[in-house]
Amino acid sequence: MSATATGVYHRSYRRESALRHTKAEYFRLALMIVGLLVTPYVLDNYWLSIVNTILIAVIGAVGLNILVGFTGQISLGQGGFLAIGAFSSALLYQRADLPAPLSIACAVVITAVAGALFGLPALRIKGLYLAIATLASQEIIVFVARRWTFLRDGSAPLTVDRLSLGSFEIERQYFEWQWYWILLTFAVLAVLAARNLFRSSLGRSFMAVRDQDIAASAIGVNITRAKVTAFAVSSGFVGLAGALSAHYTETVTWEAFTLDVSILYLAMIIVGGLGTIAGSVYGAAFMVLVPVFIQETVGAVGDSVPVLLSRVPAIEQVVFGLVIIFFLLFEPRGLAQIWQRMKDYIRFWPFRY
């Protein structure tokens, strides 16, 4: 809990239930909104494409955090659920000619149902055993995506036509720019939805299951319902991320949904902060930016140390591992906690607390 929250008094219930209480919080919100609005005008297409990747990752990471961080159910099946979302939306849009919003919505529902189904083992097993069960779901889904020829265009992977809706169509030269607004809208809605979910009884039942499931059932939480719903809700978010990535990358191939992706998303929420929505956002941004910055750095010093240039993927792997170890050792509550401590430090300066 942040120390900043002390000394804030509410005179009405509405005030108390507001998402933000202090002027500083409103100020930061305004700053962030301005930042997000200005972003597409200051970044070039390459950096904007990275921001777009981050926005998709944010939705996926929020989804995974609902399951892992808030409900305490570990999942290695993230890549598989992303694949279900991507393939469903692509097939509905491409083969069944559904309009994009409808195909994306259907993909969310389909992934949620699949998630609930694959989450059923969670009713009987916990911890490491559940991790292995979800690992199986990852492998099964990717195996099907690999072998089922229906999921390909003849011998080529499934391609998705450039997004269009009615008379609106994504234009070539404004591709990243237009996608930024679409993805930003979805990401903001996803973050708001998740943030508010945990102010509702459903979200609180998830956290009760995480903290102590026996106690939760003693106070009347239906554990079966909570666990299955958590899997469904989480997979719904992940399915949305998958569907958006299908339309954004315009090709759907199983190679983008391997176990590595599941691990990457787990890393995002560990680095960002388990059990915080803001942490999912920081973590997603951080993990997408790490390889990009490594490449930029190596590119900058590459002329003097050419051996680095041919080792970029290896360096990425090493840094990836080091980052996770670093956070687990020094700040298990992730970037969200670091940010919190920075805010507290400034607020109480020059006193320690």
Binding site: P40, Q173, T251
Partner: protein, 398 residues
């Protein structure tokens, strides 16, 4: 409630106002006549890095050579090559980076990334060549901006199967060992159809090779149970060499027939004696085939203190793939057109055969507006005394 609605309306209208105003001036990439930017997506450290590295060296060697010769019509090629470690999302990121830097053409690598990017490159109108010779990429109706310089994997498999059919007296039992990826699977369906269509006396079973396996004894045991006398391999050199060693160690009576990516000096070197007698289908002439097209490369390499013997056949492959793209660019510049993706595509489709000094396929590479299959001829070699000895050259599947 009123306040929330008011804030929401304000936010929504601000968003609409912002999105409605014109996006930042998108750079149309007008041709200014300087160096020619080309992006290279290379695999140096990934699953196929063993053959990807010499291929990439060949491309960069060619660029270095042509720039020192004065460039194309006086303009140098400015190539950026980055390692993507055979990871499709990384390839997508690199592609966007190159696109943003104004690359007029992209040299890719694997089947997975070539296929994954094929929709994008046609939308963005960027010519894309790669070391993937998947049949799906040759059809301009499906992949209008992909150019396949060499005979496809399917054509190579057809040549390989024809050779097996001739070599064997009775029904040939063939085990098709392939990389478990789009690259490995690319020729499978066509190979099966070919056996059917030509009525070849061959019975073939497919076995995906598990990635990162220490040996393939289990797979070979299954092939033995099938009664396989031939192992047709669609994979890169290192795993293929492991198969060769396993066959020798198990004393199995099987002969390896390699397609493109394991038909090289690396395979022979790694497998050692176990490689002897293996048949190698390779569309690019190795140094032992001694073609006139090798002369420029030899001259360039000896200046650098190396030789084609050291660099191997994939260096030749990279060199000539870049050569074909460069010839397309040269044609555009000679015609006095603005250098752009569509112009290069048009030039490659209409310029007629591109000479490769006998190195690629039957000697020339030619594209047309209804086929991006650059060549159909492959050479058949046999591993003998530690090198690739030509059996036949310019074999087309018939």
């Amino acid at each position: 409630m009123f306040r929330i609605r008011w804030t929401a309306t304000l936010a929504a209208s601000a968003l609409v106002a912002l999105t409605a105003c014109a996006p930042p001036g998108a750079d149309e990439g007008g041709d200014e006549g300087g160096a020619i930017p080309v992006g290279v997506i290379a695999d140096l450290t990934g699953a196929t890095g063993d053959v990807g590295t010499p291929y990439n060296d060949g491309m960069l060697g060619y660029i270095d050579w042509i720039n020192s010769e004065g460039g194309i019509e006086g303009r140098e090629i400015d190539a950026t090559s980055k390692d993507y470690a055979y990871d499709v999302p990384t390839a997508e990121r690199l592609y966007k980076e190159y696109l943003n830097e104004g690359a007029v053409a992209i040299q890719g690598w694997g089947t997975g990334d070539s296929e994954a990017l094929s929709g994008k490159v046609s939308q963005d109108e960027i010519p894309f060549m790669s070391a993937s010779y998947a049949e799906a990429l040759t059809d301009p109706a499906q992949a209008p901006y992909n150019f396949v310089v060499a005979p496809t994997y399917s054509d190579q498999a057809r040549v390989g199967l024809n050779w097996i059919d001739e070599d064997s007296d009775a029904t040939a039992e063939v085990a098709f060992f392939h990389n478990d990826s789009p690259f490995g699977l690319a020729p499978l369906a066509d190979a099966e159809a070919w056996i059917e269509e030509k009525g070849l006396d061959i019975s073939m079973e497919a076995y995906p090779m598990p990635a990162g396996a220490a040996n393939y004894v289990g797979l070979l045991a299954r092939a033995k149970a099938q009664g396989a006398k031939y192992v047709l391999i669609q994979n890169v050199s290192s795993p293929a060499a492991t198969v060769a060693k396993d066959i020798a160690a198990q004393n199995l009576d099987m002969r390896i027939v390699c397609l493109n990516w394991c038909s090289d000096e690396l395979f022979i070197e790694t497998a050692g004696d176990a490689a002897e007698g293996s048949v190698l289908v390779q569309p690019f002439a190795p140094v032992t085939a001694d073609q006139e097209g090798h002369a420029d490369i030899e001259a360039y390499l000896s200046e650098k203190g190396s030789s084609l013997e050291e660099e191997g056949v994939h260096y030749v492959q990279g060199w000539y793939t870049m050569h074909i793209l460069a010839e397309g660019i040269r044609q555009v510049l000679e015609d006095g057109d603005d250098l752009s993706g569509p112009a290069i595509k048009e030039a490659l489709e209409t310029m007629g055969p591109i000479d490769t000094g006998g190195v690629v396929g039957t000697g020339t590479v030619e594209f047309s507006s209804d086929s991006h299959r650059g060549s159909t001829g492959s050479g058949v070699y046999v591993a003998e005394g530690g090198s690739m000895k030509p059996l036949e050259t310019g074999v087309t599947p018939e």
